[in-house]
Symmetry: C2
Subunit: 378 residues, 2 copies
């Protein structure tokens, strides 16, 4: 029901196949973020057409609204929504620390107040497992503590040790045979803590490993050093998921260091703010230069927005606060991310990842300065 | 290039075919409102799938943003947007009175300040024609003055006479051979003024006639009396368009009185507020009764939203402020309106309009009280 096969390696990068109860995911894979059991500004049909293979949903948001018991009663995420492919749910740990009010952390778990209505809640490893089993995603996450950056090493060490204890409790509380439970490696930017965390989790025998607590403000070099250090420690025959990352550049560097799965709000959130990821660099649609620009957002892209929309029209929709601006730009940005990951996987399967990466970096450097780096070769 | 053929009559109702440069419209027809060259919350593909045949765009909004000269330079509305079917633009008259600030009305036209940035503008019959020719819709409207309700009869009489003089100036200023110009009948609820207005316009030889200044607060019986009075005065071989109307019930009554075309923001605006038009009555998706309701919004509907979405999921999306709630409910409400008009036309072509209307009225009366009247038979 759940299986991972590593199919190709090219230098440090890996290409594989993740089989889940709701379908196969070719890795490296990007997971669009569907926080409230919906990817913002688009419908499920748009995700299918953009080539999404798996979608992430947020435990924290869904436990508060509409409530995990209701989702369970309506057939889990697959019964509740129109997404027929695999789902992954996060543990709720990261978001309870970043969104909820009046948190109190104990060995048992985290007490907090809902950011929606102030109602009190307790999230523990056992409760996180209950919620995620109610939601019924194909992949669930062990409950973890994700410390902010920077904090003293001692605080990171304590959070890391607690994450391991919570991973054991998560595993013990997890019952659904049709759901894979991944452990989450913590340890901040401290390589010895990361190693300790990874070795403890590997000993617990999880079918996949997530790397949490990165992209929280640390320098890129620190993130890459952590990934390099973890690569030989994490079992090669199990998938690795880098949580919450990132830009196309970040993803490229992480793939080069053996990561298989990603999620990030960047393509969807930036779309709503008028920023497009294109093969020619990042494009801010508000820019006056696009006022009469009849070119599609990204001439190299085949998505619905690029097939039917000019930059001038998209700029008009955005400035007129039309919701369809967000819809069209989300469709494009997701297509761009998904296309990029597909091309990365292809280059790995063809044994030419290094050349592809160099070309992608070259194009990024050549992208118009005022629009930020461009992300990948055509 | 532009033609109308009346194909069937059933009691007072008419079914016809309107041929335009961008395609055929079967009447009676409902035109979704695309104020800013976009129907709010949906993409053009959604409109095609819902069966829209013609879309209305607003002269007032587009002259201000992005500006009609820009739309002209980008190929008119058909070059600017991805809608390939016919467009109709209004004259700007109604909206300059309802939306703009600091209006000053003279025989020449209306001076006003933009509701967007306070910039000063002058809208005259000649300028309205220039804008509408720049926008390049298949059907344009003569510039009119639409008085509010209620106002003294004298004010209505003056506005009506001015509308006729402006209609002459509009016709004189209109040049595009690929665009049909409709005159607009005014006259408030005064049958003699309406008759006077209609006879003057008919004498000017417009290829179609709009009925403006209704559904502005007057009792329904007054509106129906005006329509009945105008029916024998307006030429039978030219299309009649009732502007800004209305509920499914209003449309049914107007079709019974010989009207062919309609536009209204009701299906799109109400969708964004969480109100669905269904074959079982109007349904407010916020209602707690839909919390765990697994039925589609409207079990008798084949739209994308009804094929893939439960009321419970739609309610969740709406309460979570997800844009896709507006998208899905707009898709459904437009499908409902377009299906209703299609069924009305079918009943006319089959010579059974009266029976259809009676059945529709019966179903409306039987619809759940607390959700308002239901609109049409299955």
């Amino acid at each position: 029901m759940f299986a991972f096969s590593l199919e190709a390696r090219s230098d440090g990068a890996r290409a594989g196949r993740l089989t889940t109860p709701h379908g196969v995911v070719e890795t490296p894979a990007f997971m669009p973020v569907g926080t409230a059991a919906a990817v913002k500004a688009v419908t499920w049909r748009d995700l299918e057409e953009a080539g999404a293979q798996i979608v992430l949903a947020n435990t924290y948001h869904l436990m508060l609204r509409p409530g995990d018991a209701l989702v369970r009663d309506l057939g889990g995420l697959h019964g509740f929504t129109a997404w027929r492919g695999p789902y992954l749910t996060d543990s709720g740990g990261y978001q309870v620390f970043s969104l909820a009010n009046l948190r109190r952390l104990t060995e048992d778990g985290v007490q907090f107040q809902s950011h929606l209505d102030g109602s009190p809640h307790l999230l523990t490893p056992e409760r996180s497992m209950e919620i995620q089993q109610n939601l019924g995603a194909d992949i669930a996450m062990a409950f973890d503590e994700c410390p902010p950056y920077p904090v003293p090493r001692l605080a990171v060490a304590e959070a890391t040790a607690r994450t391991t204890r919570w991973a054991e409790r998560s595993r013990a509380a997890h019952r659904r045979p049709d759901q894979a439970l991944f452990g989450i490696v913590q340890g901040g930017v401290h390589l010895d803590l990361r190693e300790q965390s990874a070795r403890s989790l590997v000993a617990l025998g999880f079918p996949g490993h997530a790397i949490g607590g990165l992209s929280v403000g640390e320098p890129k070099a620190e993130m890459n050093a952590v990934l390099e250090h973890l690569d030989p420690i994490l079992p090669a025959d199990k998938p690795r998921y880098l949580m919450g990352v990132g830009t196309p550049e970040d993803i490229l560097e992480a793939v080069a260091r053996g990561v298989d799965m990603f999620d990030c709000v960047l393509p969807t959130r930036n779309a709503r703010n008028g920023q497009l990821f294109t093969r020619e660099g990042r494009l801010s649609i508000r820019n006056a230069r696009y006022r009469a620009d009849v070119r599609p957002p990204d001439p190299g892209c085949a998505c619905y927005a690029c097939r039917t929309t000019s930059r001038a029209y998209l700029r008009h929709l955005h400035l007129a606060n039309e919701m369809s601006a967000a819809t069209l730009m989300t469709i494009h940005n997701l297509a761009f991310y998904l296309d990029t990951l597909r091309l990365l996987g292809q280059s790995i399967r063809l044994g030419r990842f290094t050349a592809f990466r160099a070309e992608m970096l070259r194009q990024m450097a050549a992208a118009p300065r005022d629009e930020g780096p461009g992300p990948h070769p055509t």
